[in-house]
Amino acid sequence: MSGRVLIVEDEPFIAEALEFILSREGITVTVARDGGAALTMVGGYDLIVLDIMLPGASGFEIAEAAAALSPRPKVCVLSAKGQPADQETMRTIGVDAFVTKPFSNKALMETIKTLLAAP
């Protein structure tokens, strides 16, 4: 599997685990640990995997910045909130999928593969 993925996650061990499981599938991974830095990096990726609570800028702001790009990268949010109302809010700002923490690696990878395979 190929693809370019930006992981925006300030928790170092979660970021490291994500980088590992995506890389071993052949995906090219870049990690940003700060929301403010990620805002300047959103261009040039097929998919952005985002945490919501981040230093510098929130995941919502980064998702909105990504939605303004052309071509628009897919966005997958890693969220602690699983309520339908939160999901609806995320979709309105251009989020394609969300995975609720704590997630299983297998389920996360299936979501990522689906997003990367979609046109």
């Binding site: 061990f13 685990a17 499981i21």
Partner: protein, 464 residues
Amino acid sequence: MGSMARVPIGDRIRSRRRSAGLTQRALAEAIGVSPAYLSLIESDKRQIGGRLLHQIAERLGVPPDTFTQLSDDRLAAELTEVSRAAIDDAAPTAAELVAFSPAWARLMLSLYERAVTAEAQTDQLSEKFQRDPQSITFAHDILSRITSIRATAEILSDADGMAGAQRDRFICAIVAESARLTTVTRQMVDVLGTGADPDAAGADVRAVDAFLSDRAYHFPALEMAAAEAPSPPGGTGRERFRFALGVMAGAAGDLIDAEVTNAALPTKGAVARARGALLRYAAGAMVMPYGPFLAAAKAMRYDIDGLCDTFGVSFEQAAHRLASLRRPGAEGIPFAFLRVDPAGIVSKRLSTRALRLPLHGACPLWIVYGAFSAAGRTLTQMVDLEGERFLFLARAVEKRPHRGAQPATRFAVMLGAPADRADEIVYADAFPPAHTHLTTAAGYECRACTREKCAQRAHGESAL
């Protein structure tokens, strides 16, 4: 409230009469009524009070308040109110229950207090978790630790061919995140343990209210101690009162402890609150000595501003003292005292037998709420509460903050007196008896109110 919850006393009269070995006829003759009328009284088909009740008590050789204990009326009124708060439909009054078994009635009230306290604490914690940034941080921190532990453990469970250094790195991650998870969880438990206000539902406030009400808000021993204390020096009202607090803390400390111990209050919070209330009572008695204060009040027809000038006290202090002039044989007008904050929450209340004040918010038509929009003015109102008329007078008061940048504390203070004593009160001059159109038709509190077509109704069936 009012007369609606008075406890039936017929059974008690009959029981005492039989104990005294008197027939119905003998007692009836002794008190100058017919046996048939006494029979109606003993079966609670006639309510009596005043002179007739005194005659019965005298003939049976018991104190006059044997049959009508204020504590029973208070208990019945509060139980009736909580039953109406608990169910939407009109609940029966609790007077019969109190008459039949006061112990069960007290137990029910106690259980209700515990239930509403627990409910309020739960609400507080729930609110704390949903809105409090600290709680959100805890939740995020814990979830992040669990997420990294789970993701890393899954990687390790499928680690065929993984380099040793990489494997060690993930194992270290699990150990570090587990330790962090333990620390955060302990911190959260500590915060939860101290996060809820133990008197979230105001149960302590009500327990102390009940204690003061049962004692008719009169403490002869504290009055005596205050009378023996030196006069406070000159200065502002606040300074004089603070001086009196210091003196009475020493001079009446043991008396206050004894009163509070006898009251058998349910919690440490209630004990502390009662101790504070009695200390302020004693300080008030020192700054405003009973005899001179009562004489001045009568001479000025209860003009509170005049009393403030004469005794160098604040409006609230003078009003509070007026509500405590209940020495048997030398009573002032029986004023009920109410203090509410701008949110409408009752923060202090002293009921009387005639005017029982609500536990929670009062009827919004009461003038006490209007006082906030007329700072510095004493507002008056003649009200009709379910057929009984009362004179209300209220004023908004402000207390300076201890720190300059903080807002002042604001309350509205109200006194209520039976209309049949209104001619003794200067504030009633605005309501000549013939001008009944000046009387406001109101209730006690919304949920228990039976008044129809009330545009202000917030609970129960709307008339609009």
